[in-house]
């Protein structure tokens, strides 16, 4: 729109301290031509008219700033009229989910203390879990066999991840580091000897994840930062600053082309980051307490969060806002972990009241409650092909549900 300064541009210029009319010297000499050009909304026309009048009467900069502030308010009001609809309202016509018969299919016993984290292998049956007593175990979930076990030199191993190739695992916790252990087929080989220290933080490691390859590791820490590391050299490739408190969780976007990830922390914020530039591209703050876990919706266009405030929420990245809250009066304990089913229709959430709730993502209602664990559920993850999900708990066991 040549020759027309939109209301928004006026605000921007006013905020920059520059009187908007100074930017358009040429237009100022021909005020009449403005009203004849196409203006998108009636708001613009009236605002321009008002502004022109002010200019012509020679009013000061301060008055113009006041004008722009009131215009801003009017714009917000107009925007609000454009009906922000919640997801469950839009999903009214969608069919209800019929009752699901999900039961525990496997119980993995072997840890001596609270299990804090787990991750699936791409082969859909193996998984790695880590616990408070420093033990990291690799299981074949299907046969219940323990395939590898390693004892970390620290307690509270809060994060663990399986490498995409299935040949290594990463873990860390109170040692402030993230180490990678290659898994060998030779049972006699001492895993601990092959340990490779990759990440170094200045506070506990809360989360770790391999990017698309075994060669890069993304970590989150109690020191308030996230970081991307080159596994082979231990070099820091990129760091991500922006959280104002401990970062508790991170999740990579499931895109073939994307380079983003989301993190959640004790500052109640969920931040989306560009891995290439290190920039915080989007931020969401609607929870009332710490965000314990963040997980992307299968398309990568939205993500869910679990918080100590007892709710789970869904944020749409393109709408740039929260679009659903999953809560109930009877849920008064914090949610520790979430994950989506393959289609994204179901949200599995683990809570500190020892249960797992299954939510209908679109309609917002709870479909069922799963009992079974005898202490807090610390981690919930759906298997890579969606055929089952695993839960880790402070009751020292892991359960696989389907």
């Amino acid at each position: 729109m040549r020759g027309v300064t939109s209301a928004r541009q006026q605000h921007q210029l006013a905020e920059a301290g520059e009187p908007w009319w100074r930017q358009r010297e040429s237009e100022r000499k021909r005020p009449n031509t403005r009203t004849s050009s196409t203006i998108p909304s009636p708001l613009c026309a009236s605002s321009l008219k008002m502004a022109c009048q002010a200019l012509q009467s020679g009013e000061s900069l301060a008055t113009l700033k006041n004008e722009s502030d009131s215009l801003k308010k009017k714009l917000e009001e107009e925007r609000a009229k454009l009906h922000d609809v919640e997801l469950n309202q839009v999903a009214e016509k969608v069919e209800l989910v019929s009752a699901l018969s999900i039961r525990t299919r496997r119980v993995l016993k072997g840890h001596g203390n609270k299990v804090l984290c787990m991750d699936w292998c791409k082969d859909k049956r193996r998984l790695v879990s880590s616990s408070q007593d420093g033990k990291v175990i690799v299981w074949d979930g299907y046969t219940l066999n323990k395939e590898h076990a390693v004892t970390m030199p620290c307690t509270w191993v809060m994060a663990c991840a399986y490498a995409p190739s299935g040949c290594a695992v990463a873990c860390g916790g109170l040692d402030n580091k993230c180490s990678v252990y290659p898994l060998s087929l030779d049972k006699n080989e001492n895993l601990a000897a092959k340990k490779k220290s990759v990440a170094m933080h200045t506070n506990y490691l809360s989360g770790c994840s391999f990017t698309n390859s075994d060669m890069q590791l993304l970590t989150s820490s109690g020191d308030g930062t996230c970081a991307l590391w080159d596994v082979e050299s231990g070099q820091l490739l990129q760091s991500f600053h922006g959280h104002t408190a401990d970062v508790l969780s991170l999740n990579l976007a499931p895109s073939e082309t994307g380079n983003t990830f989301v993190s959640g922390g004790c500052d109640k914020k969920a931040n989306v980051w560009d891995m290439r530039s290190g920039q915080n591209v989007q931020s969401f703050e609607t929870h009332d307490s710490d965000i314990n876990c963040v997980k992307y919706y299968p398309t990568g266009d939205a993500f869910a969060s679990a918080s100590d405030d007892g709710t789970c929420r869904l944020y749409d990245l393109r709408a740039d806002r929260e679009v659903a809250v999953y809560q109930k009066d009877s849920i008064i304990f914090g949610a520790s972990s979430v994950d989506f089913s393959l289609s994204g229709r179901l949200l599995f959430a683990g809570y500190n009241d020892y249960t797992i709730n299954v939510w209908d993502v679109l309609k917002g209602n709870r479909i069922s409650v799963l009992f079974g664990h005898e202490n807090r559920v610390s981690c919930v993850k759906v298997s890579p092909d969606g055929t089952s999900f695993a839960s880790a708990s402070w009751d020292t066991s892991l359960r696989i549900w389907a």
Binding site: D246, P298, D301, G344
Partner: protein, 392 residues
């Protein structure tokens, strides 16, 4: 939790607390287990008594109310009597009672000669253990216990009953019966953190409704094992791993092939899809596009040490003047890439890759979906002569 407990104790809408006449004496200030369950069902919008029982048990385990004649803190939906814990003993006051305090308490208990205050087995064991541990200090502990017992004796009988039970419940939370969950255990991440003041900011509202989420979920429902059982069965429920074996085989099933049609990313994600797409591109003599895209993806995954060499190789193969697999990139991306080459990094080819991706998506992909070899796979028609690779 405390908000719920406060509501429970409200005069008007709370649970009625009463004194019950029992066999020998009156039991002051109690509520019954089923009262609690009923209240929760009404006031907390719960549908299932099982859920109410579970929540109630948790609240008891945390010490907000307790059974008057049991050390194990759980809720039963019957006439069992419960009492509310005094706010003084609430967990939110961050009690971290020492073992010496526990020793004093147990000692005091032994001084009271009432049958109902006798120590349970596990308490007797704990006492014995503490006596050994604090052998030297024991006189001091004994004196404290004596002093406390004296003060208690002076109290009103009814008041004593209530206070004694509350004190016992407090210790049941902090020194639970063996086998019970210790609800005072906290997540280490919460205890050792940097406490920073935060600013609350209202998120910006826009008008676009997330319809795409709905359409995606509906489209993929048939692929979600939670809704549609995988073929032939879900390995976790049927103990039959055929489903997984089929997936690793070279022959992609019809359902899997159909998924490639949902979006370009589906073809790129699935190794079998990539293979078919590459074959198709070869028949069109434009396979260098996909090969370039795959090479750049690989570049981003390699260790830092290999980056410079890989960048050079990709340049030579796809972009340099006279390259054997020259790709067609717009001039802007080409110029940018030429500039990036001077300082090779993982994102050197980012612009070119994006351009090629868009090209494949808008052009080759749609032709692939219409091609006879894709259509054949979709119809699950078997190839007559496996040697015939051309897809014209």
């Amino acid at each position: 939790m405390e908000e719920v407990v406060a509501r429970m104790q409200e005069e008007k809408n709370g649970i009625p607390i009463r004194t019950v006449k029992s066999f020998l004496s009156k039991i002051p200030s109690v509520i019954s287990g089923s009262d609690i369950v009923q209240w929760m069902l009404t006031h907390l919008n719960m549908e299932d008594p099982v859920e109410a029982l579970h929540l109630g048990t948790l609240m008891a385990a945390h010490g907000y109310f307790f059974p008057i004649s049991d050390h194990v803190l759980s809720l039963k939906d019957d006439g069992t009597f419960y009492r509310f814990q005094t706010p003084y003993f609430w967990p939110s006051n961050c009690w971290e009672p020492e073992n010496t305090d526990y020793a004093v308490y147990l000692c005091k208990r032994t001084m009271q000669n009432k049958a109902r205050l006798e120590l349970a087995d596990y308490e007797a064991e704990s006492l014995a253990r503490l006596q050994r541990a604090y052998a030297r200090k024991w006189e001091f502990i004994f004196m404290q216990a004596e002093a406390q017992a004296k003060v208690d004796k002076k109290r009103d009988k009814v008041e004593r009953k209530v206070l004694d039970s509350q004190e016992r419940a407090f210790w049941d939370v902090h020194r639970p019966v063996p086998g019970c969950v210790n609800t005072t255990e906290t997540d280490i991440k919460k205890s050792s953190r940097m406490k920073e003041p935060h600013k609350t900011r209202k998120p910006l509202n826009t008008s676009s409704a997330p319809l795409s989420l709905i359409s995606y979920s509906q489209q993929y429902t048939e692929y979600d094992p939670c809704f549609t059982s995988p073929e032939p069965s879900n390995p976790w429920t049927s103990d039959d791993t055929t489903c997984w074996e089929l997936e690793t085989s070279k022959e992609p099933g019809q359902q899997r092939v159909r998924r490639w049609g949902f979006g370009f990313n589906e073809v790129l994600k699935d190794p079998a899809g990539r293979e078919q797409f590459l074959k198709f591109l070869e028949s069109e003599f434009s396979s260098e596009n996909l090969r370039f895209w795959l090479a750049v993806q690989e570049l981003k995954k390699r260790p830092v040490r290999e980056v410079a060499t890989l960048v050079h190789n990709i340049w030579q193969e796809f972009l340099a003047p006279g390259a054997p697999s020259a790709i067609n990139v717009d001039s802007k991306s080409y110029a940018k890439t030429t500039h990036n080459i001077k300082d090779p990094g993982r994102y050197t080819f980012e612009d070119a890759q994006e351009h090629i991706y868009k090209l494949m998506k808008s052009d080759s992909y749609s032709r692939f979906l219409r091609s006879s070899c894709y259509q054949e796979l979709l119809q699950a028609r078997k190839k007559v002569r496996p040697k015939q690779e051309s897809c014209v």
